[in-house]
Each structure stands twice: as C-alpha cells, then as structure tokens.
Amino acid sequence: MTKYRKAPKDTGKGFSTKDFNFWYGDFHALTGVTMNIAQNKITSFIGPSGCGKSTFLRCMNRMNDLIEGTHEEGLMTLDEQDIYAPSVDPVDLRRRVGMIFQQPNPFPKSIYDNVAFGPRLQGVTSKSDLDDIVEESLRRANLWKEVSHQLGKNGLALSGGQQQRLCIARVLAVQPDVLLMDEPCSAIDPTSVQKVEDLMVELAPEMTIIIVTHNMQQAGRVSDYMAFFLQEKAGEPATLIEYGVTKDIFANPKDQRTEDYITGRFG
C-alpha cells in the first residue's frame, strides 16, 4: 500500500493517476499507482533500477506506445482528461507534455533548426516569429549567451551539457505544460549538472516538472515532492511505495524500504 505524506490533492489540474497498471507484453511492469502531481512544482521519481519509475514517466506522454505490445489499465488524466482515451492523439499529448532524455539527443541539424523544430511542426512559418521563439527558448534554457553567435552550428558540436540544455530549449519552444525529465543529468559532467538543476528551479514556477533520477542528492536539492518506486521481487510488478513532500520523506521516511533506499542500504 502506498504511503502518502502530505501528497498533493486532486485539483483537477495537471496529472493524476488512479490505480494505474502497465504491461510490456506479458510482463506486468507497474501496478496500482495512484498519485496526483503538483502543478508547477518539481516532482522527483526515485527508486532502484527496474523499479518502474522511468516506465511510469514514459507513460505520461505515451512514449511507451512506440514499443510493440504494451498496454495499460487504470486511469491517467491530464487536466481531468483521460490521456489513454481512444480519442486522444498521442502526438498532440506529446506537444503538451515535453520530454528530456538521459542521453542528450539533439538532431544533427543547426542549433536554430533544433529549437525551431517544434514550432515548425505546429505550423509556425514566419521567420521573425521563429527567430523570436528560438531566442526566447534559448534564453530560458540559459544557453543563449553561449550560442547566440553560432546558431548555425550543428547541435552535435556542442558539449554534452550544452546539448542537454539545447534539448530543453527545444522542448520549451513549444511551451509545454509539463516537462518530463528522464535522468537528465546522468550523462553530463558535474558543472553542467549544476546548470541544468538551476534551470529546473527557474522553470518550475511556470510548468510542472517531473524528474526521474538515481541521484538522491539531486532529488533532495531540486524537488518539492518525491515518489519512491520499488519492485520488491523479481518478476513481480513494481509499485509506488511512498509519495509526498521531499523534505518529509528525507527527514522521516514512513516505510522501512524507503529508508533503506535513501540511506543507501540497497539500490
């Protein structure tokens, strides 16, 4: 049973799940996840490898649809709309729910084209509008100063940390409501990690951010709420163990398993 620690209430805004289950083919990966995600706050998902936290994150913009033979049960809503309803176009969902991946993955195009990609998809054609969007997004991603003089440079020519911020700028360009970050800092150097974390804190007042991380300190530093996932036995589905305000969980975990994990006893 999930233990809740001052967990957000269902406000009818943002993400909310009820008894959410997920399968990869025959493998039951996640079971009984019930949680509301706080609007315009940072929520972190933590847990050992294989605990389903990434899977759950990828369910939130239906990236898992791209894998053959997956299916879900239960309810997952965004602004009270069932995102798995047959009428929902996952493509449109993803425009509202942006995602950052573990490995920075800029397109092998210019920086400008990378950022303009999303707006162009949405049909923005005016050069001046695009210029504005590109500049604004790069500014918000704290990358503008570094690249403003070389927007024509290939995105792949940037350093790893810059690439990740470029990816963030690329997502910001379409003004998503929610930003999903799947271990965004595990593939970049420590200085860049700092920059990305700062950026998250800066962005939080305007958008909901959900971050999957292996790094307990990072979760503690940046997130307002924290969710601990665990797969107890191999072969059994993982689930949400404890969810609530980050500080409370760190200070005084209710569940023994949470405590074991955050004190580094396993995982």
Partner: protein, 317 residues
C-alpha cells in the same frame, strides 16, 4: 525505442565477454577448410573425371578457334574425336575473324569460319580452305504476317531502313521491326555480303547476339523480321513458329540450297595454316565424315554431298 537500444546494448556486452573466450578453434578450422576445399575439390574432380575419360592424356592436343556459327559442330566433333581417337581439341568461339587471325599467327591449329577469306587474308597465302557444310539463311517473320515473299531488293531496303512500313510490301500499315545480328555473327556477315551488297545496315535495328533470340523475338512479335540459318526455322525446342519468306520467288529448302537456286546461302569453312597435318587433319576428316552429318543438321546446316566430301578430304600421311 528504449527497449531496442537496450537489447542491443545487452548483445554488445555479451559479444565483448565472448571475445575473451576463444572457444572457436574447431569452427575456425572448419571454415578455413571449406575455403580451401573450394579450390581443391574443383581440381580433384577435374583430375578424376579427365583421367577417367581420357586415359591417353592431353598429349595429342589441337586448338580450334573461330566462328560461333561453326562452334556447335566443332564442339561435338571435339567430344567425339576425343572418345574415338584420343585427340583433345580445345574449341572456342570468338568469331570468324579472330579465329583466322589466330591461325595466321599460330595460336590456333584450325580456324572455323562462316565466311570466306577476305582479299587481304587470301593474299597472305598462308591459309588452306576446307568447306565443311552449306548454310542457307532464311528470312523469317511472324506467322501472323500476311507477307510471304520478298525480292532481294525489298529485303535490302528493309534492312537498310529505307522501307519502314509493311504496307509498302503488301502487308498491314504497321512499322517494320527489324532484328539484326551482331557483327561477330557469321550469319550477319553472309547476309551482308549476299543481300546488302555494300548498302549499310540500318543502325536503328535491334542487334541480338544469338540465333535463338532472333527466332524467339520474331516468333512472338507481330511486325518483326529477322534472319536465321534455315536449320533453325523449325525448332523442336519451341512451340512458337516463325514463317520463312520466299526470296525472289524461291522457297528456302535443302533442295533449293543444294541446287543453289535459293539466293541467300553460304558455305562453312575450316582454315588451316597450309594443308592440315596430323591431328588437325584427323579432325578435319572427322568433321567431314558421315558420322557428323546428323550433328551438322542438328546445328541447322546442311552436310556436304558425298562427292563434295571426297574433294575436301585430306589425305592422311
């Protein structure tokens, strides 16, 4: 997507781990062996089969080169003479000219040719000529074509590209589709000499490098016209028929070729450097023998009359 990359990663780790343990010696050997076997087996098989069928070895060897027209005859003769007299004749078809050149410069013993010597070649005085068969060239059209006879002039007009419609020849108002042979062909050479008489061929005509191709195309294309050796007009291999045209009012047939009334006919030759001797002479005589008559007919040509054969045979020393 995620999963795919994971699977690959896992595979990679496995591969790397496996690299450390070379447990594949036997397998390596197996593959290496296979490669060597390719060459070795080919050689072995050859040795085995050759020693089986040619116990007397390859000491008695002659080289026969030249016309592709005569190639089938020469090949069969080569097989049979190998069996009967142990003479190993290496036969190749490179075209009459190449064969004649080969005999002149001594790389071949016998040149097979579907044309007579040119003035230059004649002038060298090196070569001895032996007629080995007659060949009539039939002009063929599709059986559906109403035209059934042409004059030599009309034929020339068609192949020169001056007559382009069947309507000009009493047929339907359709374009004549001319099928010519390649320049290596002895049949073309003969056709050129006898029919074209100096008028150039129309270069727009399709050029096909084989008798069968010409026959096949004409038999299946309504407005096509081509020429092939008379012997191939009726083929036991093909259901499709072609129609041989009368030329200048003469129907092509064995009789009309033998009595020389059919205009488009020629002889097939062997050329040797001087009078043939030894194994080369044996080969020439073998081709002229009655044994080969059936083969020559099968190849689409007409064997010589007995009196002609007597004149051509070489006295063996």
């Amino acid at each position: 997507m995620h999963c795919r990359s994971d699977a690959v990663d896992t595979a990679n780790r496995h591969t790397e781990r496996g690299m450390k343990a070379f447990a594949q010696k036997g397998f390596c050997f197996c593959t290496a062996l296979f490669c060597c076997l390719l060459a070795a087996s080919a050689t072995l098989f050859t040795t085995a089969s050759l020693s089986g069928c040619a116990p007397r070895g390859a000491a008695r060897q002659i080289t026969v080169a030249g016309s592709t027209t005569v190639l089938p005859i020469a090949e069969i003769a080569s097989e049979e003479i190998q069996e009967e007299e142990g003479i190993h004749a290496l036969v190749s078809g490179l075209g009459s000219s190449a064969g004649i050149e080969a005999v002149m410069n001594g790389t071949a013993d016998i040149a097979t040719s579907s044309r007579d010597l040119t003035a230059d070649e004649e002038a060298s005085g090196l070569l001895q000529k032996t007629v080995i068969a007659h060949d009539g060239i039939a002009v063929i059209v599709n059986p559906d074509n109403p035209v059934s006879q042409l004059s030599l002039d009309q034929l020339r007009g068609i192949f020169a590209g001056q007559i382009t419609k069947w309507s000009e020849l009493g047929g339907p108002d359709e374009t004549i589709l001319v099928v010519n042979r390649d320049e290596a062909s002895g049949t073309r050479e003969a056709f050129k000499t006898i029919v074209m008489q100096g008028t150039p061929f129309d270069k727009r005509a399709a050029i096909l490098p084989g008798t069968g191709q010409v026959r096949d195309v004409v038999s299946r294309t309504k407005n096509a016209i081509g020429y092939i050796s008379l012997g191939f007009v009726d083929s036991e291999f093909s259901k499709e028929k072609v129609k041989a045209l009368d030329i200048d009012g003469v129907t092509p047939s064995e009789e009309s070729i033998q009595d020389k009334t059919y205009p488009i006919a020629r002889d097939l030759f062997f050329f040797t450097r001087g009078a043939p001797t030894g194994d080369a002479a044996a080969f020439v005589n073998f081709v002229l023998s009655d044994e080969m008559d059936a083969t020559i007919r099968e190849a689409g040509y007409l064997p010589l009359f007995p009196f002609e054969k007597e004149a051509e045979e070489v006295g063996l020393l």
